[in-house]
């Protein structure tokens, strides 16, 4: 009786087993940005339409847990088939050989920003296809400018104009600050360092010993400490910079492209803000970064995964991505579809800055020294270190870590 039951059960399972292997391949696709989920699902749907035998499951894990989860999955050999890769984290995964080598896909990389393609190369191989890029622009609150009678920022602005107008716009009684200078690298101080012809990290070397770098950091920190035209990191820890801008307490703030899908739907700010290119220092610069689509070396379906990644990098998928307001698509020429989605703001400032954009500095060992900037610059704000001391310490830490 028992045997018979087993036999019947096995028989009953057969169709499922066969249909799973022969007809339908399921690919897991892991991302961290909930705002981009519809865009990614649309790309997945477009791919499934062409390849009915492949289903793609988009899974969102919030940024704060994404890397912890991915690290454990990589160590356990169970990475999702396809996943977003970030330049800061890339080397850890590439070095461990956990990513699928995409070199033989023979994609033409000329339409993508050079910096983004280069972020995902390791020992001559290409391990991720550029997905998008983002730059940093100056967002401003038109209402605060109108009330203070200050002209809106434009491409004639320099560091001096920025500081001067930030002073005019600051109204402490109303709790309004002219400019938000939080302790952020990508949106914040890095832009100033490169605009001052300094650098954070280049060709394996720390740039924190350079006077240009230090001068830029001093300028940035002084917004809050000396001129008091920006809230302090203490205030930003209480209420984040984005929230302060959205609450109408900051007249200006450096904002990355990725925040646009949020700002443009947030009632308090969507009709009140606009964008301008970053003010010019000695030179123009805006930090850009780009994500990549990567595959797992352990995937059971390497061919389908590669094919899907290739599709993600195609012009068609980039247009889908742009139409979902996700991010500026990496494929040259498709950014206009992104710009079209935003009728009432000067979103074009973002793609405009790519011509003089500086790739977000990356290195094989960055994850080991990335916290040193926050630790040491934070101590400058609290008065524990002088800027010189902090820069010496950062320079030393980065140099030591890189030399190991």
């Amino acid at each position: 009786m028992k045997k018979l039951l087993c036999f019947v059960l096995c028989l009953a399972m057969m169709p499922f087993v066969f249909s799973a292997s022969a007809e339908n391949i399921s690919i897991n696709f892991s991302i961290w940005d909930k705002n981009q989920q519809p865009g990614m699902e649309a790309i997945a749907a477009a791919y499934t339409e062409k390849n009915p035998d492949v289903t793609i499951n988009v899974q969102v894990t919030p940024w704060s847990e994404y890397w912890t989860k991915l690290q454990a999955a990589a160590a356990g050999g169970s990475l999702p088939d396809v996943f977003w890769m970030h330049s800061n984290q890339f080397y850890v995964y590439a070095e461990a050989g956990t990513m699928l080598d995409l070199t033989d896909l023979n994609i033409d990389y000329s339409p993508y920003p050079e910096g983004v393609t280069a972020m995902y190369q390791y020992e001559g191989g290409q391990y991720a296809v550029p997905k998008d890029y983002d730059t940093i622009a100056l967002a401003y609150n038109k209402e605060i400018f109108d009330n203070a009678g200050v002209a809106y920022p434009d491409d004639t602005w320099t560091w001096d104009t920025l500081l001067e107008n930030a002073k005019k716009l600051t109204d402490k009684e109303k709790g309004i600050y002219g400019y938000g200078a939080p302790l952020h690298d990508q949106e914040g101080f890095l832009n100033f360092i490169y605009q001052n012809e300094g650098y954070e990290f280049k060709d394996g070397k720390s740039g924190y010993d350079l006077p240009e770098t230090r001068e830029a950091l001093q300028f940035y920190i002084d917004f809050a400490l000396k001129h008091e035209v920006s809230p302090t990191p203490q205030s930003f820890a209480d209420v984040g910079a984005d929230d302060q801008f959205k609450a109408g307490r900051l007249a200006m703030l450096n904002v990355g492209t990725w925040m646009m899908s949020d700002y443009t739907v947030y009632d308090g700010i969507k009709d009140k803000f606009d964008l301008a290119v970053l003010p010019k220092g000695k030179v123009r610069a805006s930090i850009y970064n780009g994500l990549g689509y990567a595959g797992a070396a352990t995937t059971e379906h390497p061919e389908q995964v590669k094919d899907f990644i290739k599709f993600c990098g195609s012009e068609e998928a980039n247009i889908i991505q742009a139409e979902h307001k996700a991010a500026i698509p990496a494929y040259a020429g498709t950014e206009k579809y992104f710009v079209e989605q935003f009728s009432n703001i000067n979103i074009g400032a973002y793609p405009e800055m790519i011509s003089y954009g500086v790739p977000f500095p990356f290195s094989q060992r960055k994850s080991l020294w990335i916290n040193t900037e926050y630790e040491n610059l934070g101590a400058v704000y609290s008065g524990e270190f002088t800027l010189e001391e902090a820069c010496d310490r950062m320079h030393q830490t980065i140099t030591e870590v890189e030399a190991e």
């Binding site: 995964y93 820890a237 916290n371 926050y374």
Partner: protein, 300 residues
């Protein structure tokens, strides 16, 4: 066969059954606790960064660990957190438990309310408290304002933030300690109090000579557990301060430092050394507590 061997055999057979019954727990402990414990100790002697490659470096991680002022700062923070939370937390639980042990109205309702924080996820608790602590819009500072006190910027002032974290810690754990102590109070035989009444003792004497000794095993258990949990504090502080917070250095505990090293910087060998340091601290404190147990705890 004489009786002794028969007994011996039966004894052995019973032992075997005994082992068999505890096997599932033992297997779980070995796989999930004991093996990782030794693995961590071994890992702390290696340089392991990222996902591949291990290099034996002897005690280098420990030399670096104890040479870093940050380690001592987080160790101090961890101890301060324990000092802030454990005595006050247990004192408050004791008072509340004594009050709830009386015949008062809505007793079960109060017990339920005090226990509620235990069932809420620490992440949610921290996010709500973050708003309560907000220096401008937070209800706490508004309240202090009414009293004419200017409240501090709770979650980003070095020194103050750890106190804020301790307040959250006390608030979220009071219910558990309270229930334990309450159970202890209710198991005190009423005859003891009756006898004391006949002897004409006052309320204070009743409390210090009957209640406290009678519940001392529970108090000891609660103190040990609370101390260990406070030493392991991670989630509240991790969620309360991020790396751009000026109070980060003066707030992060050893567990937070461990998490950042092992999971954010991919510095697993060094992270393992922090975990080992944690292990030593917890062990020492627990040994001290068990020595104290012999002197202070009264078992009936």
């Amino acid at each position: 066969m004489d009786l002794r061997t028969v007994n011996k055999r039966r004894f052995k057979a019973e032992y075997a059954w005994g082992y068999l019954f505890i096997m599932p727990t033992i297997i779980g402990l070995v796989i999930l606790n004991i093996y990782p414990l030794f693995d961590t100790l071994v890992l702390s002697l290696y340089k392991k960064q990222g996902l591949v490659g291990m290099k034996y470096v002897g005690l280098e991680n420990y030399v670096k660990l104890f040479g870093d002022s940050l380690t001592w700062q987080s160790t101090l923070n961890t101890f301060l957190y324990v000092i802030y939370t454990v005595p006050i937390g247990i004192f408050l639980s004791l008072i509340l438990a004594t009050m709830l042990n009386n015949k008062i109205r809505f007793k079960s309702l109060f017990r339920g309310i005090y226990f509620l924080p235990i069932v809420v996820a620490p992440a949610a608790v921290t996010l709500v408290w973050k708003w309560i602590f907000n220096s401008e819009f937070g209800i706490l500072n508004q309240f202090l304002n009414l009293l004419g006190i200017k409240g501090p910027v709770w979650i980003s002032t070095p020194g103050v933030t750890l106190i804020a974290a301790a307040i959250i810690g006390i608030w979220s754990n009071i219910g558990y300690d309270l229930v334990m102590i309450l159970a202890g109070l209710q198991s005190i035989p009423g005859t003891l109090y009756e006898a004391a009444d006949i002897d004409g003792v006052n309320a204070w004497q009743r409390f210090f000579y009957i209640t406290i000794p009678q519940i001392s095993p529970v108090l000891f258990f609660v103190t040990v557990m609370r101390t260990m949990n406070s030493l392991k504090q991670f989630d509240t502080i991790y969620l309360l301060v991020d790396r751009s917070n000026p109070a980060f250095r003066s707030t992060q505990t050893l567990m937070v430092q461990f998490y950042i090293e092992a999971f954010q910087k991919y510095n697993q060998g060094y992270g393992a050394a922090i975990a080992a340091w944690m292990f030593v601290i917890i062990m020492l404190i627990t040994v001290i507590q068990f020595i104290g147990e012999k002197k202070l705890v009264h078992y009936t």
